[in-house]
Symmetry: D2
Subunit: 299 residues, 4 copies
């Protein structure tokens, strides 16, 4: 990694050594917020940001995200988690406590088109994406120079329809070896097998180059041009085993006109893809996204 | 019609008695612009606005819209049209010459939801839609009061699956009686038969409450909610006999979030529908839209 | 008031008879959320929506809005308010508890241009603005017909530079007589005196027809045209005694091009003004806006 | 220059060896379009795109941009220019004929913040900006590594209030030596003297980090934060000797909320600056911008 990015990441970790994020989902009932905020107060935590949402106050599901500052957090972490388990049981909560200084480790998968990769690297080096980009994987060599100029390990794993099993086995070994938490498909043009996807639930983020559910599948810009739409878009979503049907994190569109040919749509589209994917990744890294069946709550 | 709207329309007609619009489409070749602009110059016409587009300069289709000011236009109209026929033959043109003072006559079809109708009436009374709204047709009584407050004839034509043939026969008689040029389906919730549609090619404008081609057909907001999209939209298009597949004139979207339920999506959607339909209608009335197979050129 | 609007308002009040909103601002310190949510829980209130913001977790100001459902709220109201006073003192809070069924009473001030008034009335009748529009005041007669068609009392108070004191005295009497909570200046083209403004702190909402702080003062569209900007906008803000300097609630813009003359800018601008003002009013009515010196927190 | 960018540029030049662009401004009168299009037709030119605008058809100024394909253009260039001179005199035209294969030579001036430079280089390498970036000039060393990685000459010219005359003399020598046509101030934080500006009329493009005319001058994000605006923006304009008052080419905005501090505004702002500057530069390079006093026509 470039020394100044490393330095920047360390400064961020230092600043956030007492910063935690609590994500909760459970059946809605009165008293959840009171109980959780009392719990945090007892550990001297100051709530910095708190968001909540209920699908239905009567019998629905309740979601909550609390970001807090807690002096001596790292030392108390184990104790806090154990103590919270009791509350979680009482309210039948699914929950997760994240420690902000504990950066998620990211792998970016890419093929030949580099615009999404470049946007992520750029946001990363300017401090907008707080993660440890530990690995870049590609079925082509095009991204090697870029990866290496950022000091990020680059692994060329040839992948195509014929060698899918073998390629994925190698990729899974790499993900394990590099202890990867998040996989970003930055215009990675290979389909992943159910096996691979199941191993990383809600941890693979894809960018699809259309405004889903319009133009699911291949050649969306060509099909948008044929249909004569007046807006084109891009969609970032978690990958599931239903093609382009995973929970949507973010979408964006731009206006187009009759004179834009397919090439022009692709150029405009690349700009949408870049910003939509960067926002979705940022929100994921900041623990702002909760998946509820096939949908996302974005706090 | 309210007297002040009538007065406003007359003033507009007076101001535009020498204003014409020429729409052309033909196989592309050099010399079209030179020939057309020379032709207009010979009739002392001053070009006010001119737009053109070619699908492909080598062997494609060429489209052109010229708006011009020509002293004594109404007297010369016949002569100009006859003279232009020669050029049209030479270049194998489809063409149309519109006289701006000759306002198109519009019928608005509506069911129970009045927001699109109200937007159109409002734009109309504030001078944004230059047309003669000659008739409002509905399969319900909800719009009667509004229509009558604007002094526009209101015709209640009960229409449902059972009496479609009979209802359409009555509607066709009305359209003929009122000499209607443009039909606007402002959330008219009945399907039109192929017979009705074929009688008005590229003259029926619909608003569909989704960002087509996503959510074709019924209940788009419900389906958008189920899918968890982050943007919802509306599409205005010419009606053809393929449901929601006609040439798109205009689209719009708005951002939504996880906490918006179906009711909230509908409310946001109504605002998009209003503005998208109003823009599409405005462009049609200003002769800005040329249909090329299943797509539109909007100048 | 039109009977169906009245009916709609009553239904809303009935649905929300147990709905409250608590707005708080105080110096930030740990334990506020815990204390407030515990308090609500003890009164069996279920938190429906909760938002908070701190200008600085260390020594800044903390703002909070909680919307809750509390069985038997109206009966317990007095008791709750008294009990909360103790917490408020402990944390040095400024606070307000609103009862949703207790609709705010609104007066709309308007001059000759009616587009903002019409947008508000429309949103109101379609259930988007939950308030009792009790009065329309104007220095002209143009809005009378509209006001009366909605069954809203209309008061013509001639106002100009000469008779300002007298006119305002009459307006103040009307506001008192009709027990007005919120005053909306929907393109009301008269300046209010410091006396009038001081009597309604953060309760007068204005729409200014520019993207403030650009083009403060008169003739903003003319000046935008002279400057050749590529976007025009509108700003809704609370009125203070510094012209166009009050706390901004909402802003919007639209793209314009070189061919748009002043008249076209005004037309585009009217559409922005309508939607920006409607959003600002909606947020105010839903108790989403907290004023902090010359700025707003919008939850 | 990186070999593949060079190759890409050469391919573009080869494809466009017969492509010309004619820009015209003159007093409006009938017959201009007819004469110009006839002229082009006589040289076998096929019009690819044509735009026009008149400030007022009666006595205003007429502007026109025609892009055309003319077989053997480079050989006929001199002849065409001489022949057109006659038409230009007849209509009192200011005009310019650009040859697309003849790429403009660009210098980018930058200080310490590199986001605008990076966006331009990226658009350039992906084929979105067709120009020869011949030189990067900076008063700091921060951009050197980036410049050199793209194979672009980098010149460090220390510049500050004290040595302005000397620094500009050196810069002017460099601009001459590298035959620069366009100067882009990509967040170059030094003020240019009237002397420097006068030497490059309508050829210096700046990006200002506010939505002009709001927040002219220094520290716009700080002032936007103090004022509590709900949208922030950026403006790209030609540099004149009135600070931030030059003709605006393009503007953009993004929504912000109360919780965004100055640092967050800057981050959002950088993204707006990037895209606004890139669009303005692209339009300038494609000869789409005509300056009319303090305003631009963008075709």
């Amino acid at each position: 990694m470039k020394p100044y990015i490393q330095k920047q990441m360390q400064a961020f970790q230092e600043q956030n050594r007492n910063r935690g994020r609590l994500l909760i989902s459970c059946p809605d009932q009165p008293g959840i917020v009171a109980t959780v905020s009392r719990f945090l107060f007892e550990y001297n935590a100051n709530i910095i940001e708190s968001s909540q949402y209920s699908t239905n106050p009567e019998g629905g599901t309740f979601f909550m995200r609390v970001e807090f500052e807690c002096p001596g957090l790292s030392k108390k972490a184990k104790e806090i988690e154990q103590a919270f388990e009791e509350i979680a049981e009482q309210f039948s909560m699914k929950w997760k406590l994240s420690y902000v200084h504990d950066l998620k480790r990211t792998a970016i998968f890419v093929s030949k088109e580099l615009h999404c990769l470049l946007e992520l690297l750029w946001e990363w080096q300017s401090g907008g994406l707080l993660t440890d980009i530990a690995l870049i994987v590609s079925n082509h060599e095009d991204a090697r120079e870029t990866a290496e100029s950022f000091g990020i390990p680059f692994c060329h794993v040839p992948a195509n329809k014929e060698n899918r099993a073998e390629a994925e086995a190698q990729q899974l070994r790499l993900l394990e070896e590099y202890k990867i938490d998040v996989i970003i498909l930055a215009r990675y043009m290979q389909i992943l097998t159910p096996n691979f996807v199941a191993a990383h639930p809600n941890r693979i983020i894809n960018i699809h180059h259309s405004f889903l559910p319009a133009f699911i599948g291949a050649r969306p810009y060509e099909r948008a041009h044929e249909r004569g739409v007046k807006l084109i878009g891009a969609t970032s979503h978690y990958v599931t085993n239903d093609l382009d049907e995973g929970p949507i994190i973010e979408q964006g569109v731009e206006r187009v006109r009759h004179h834009h040919n397919v090439e022009a749509l692709k150029k405009i589209g690349r700009s949408i893809e870049r910003s939509v994917l960067a926002r979705a990744v940022k929100w994921h890294l900041e623990d702002r996204v909760i998946v509820d069946r096939n949908k996302t709550i974005v706090f």
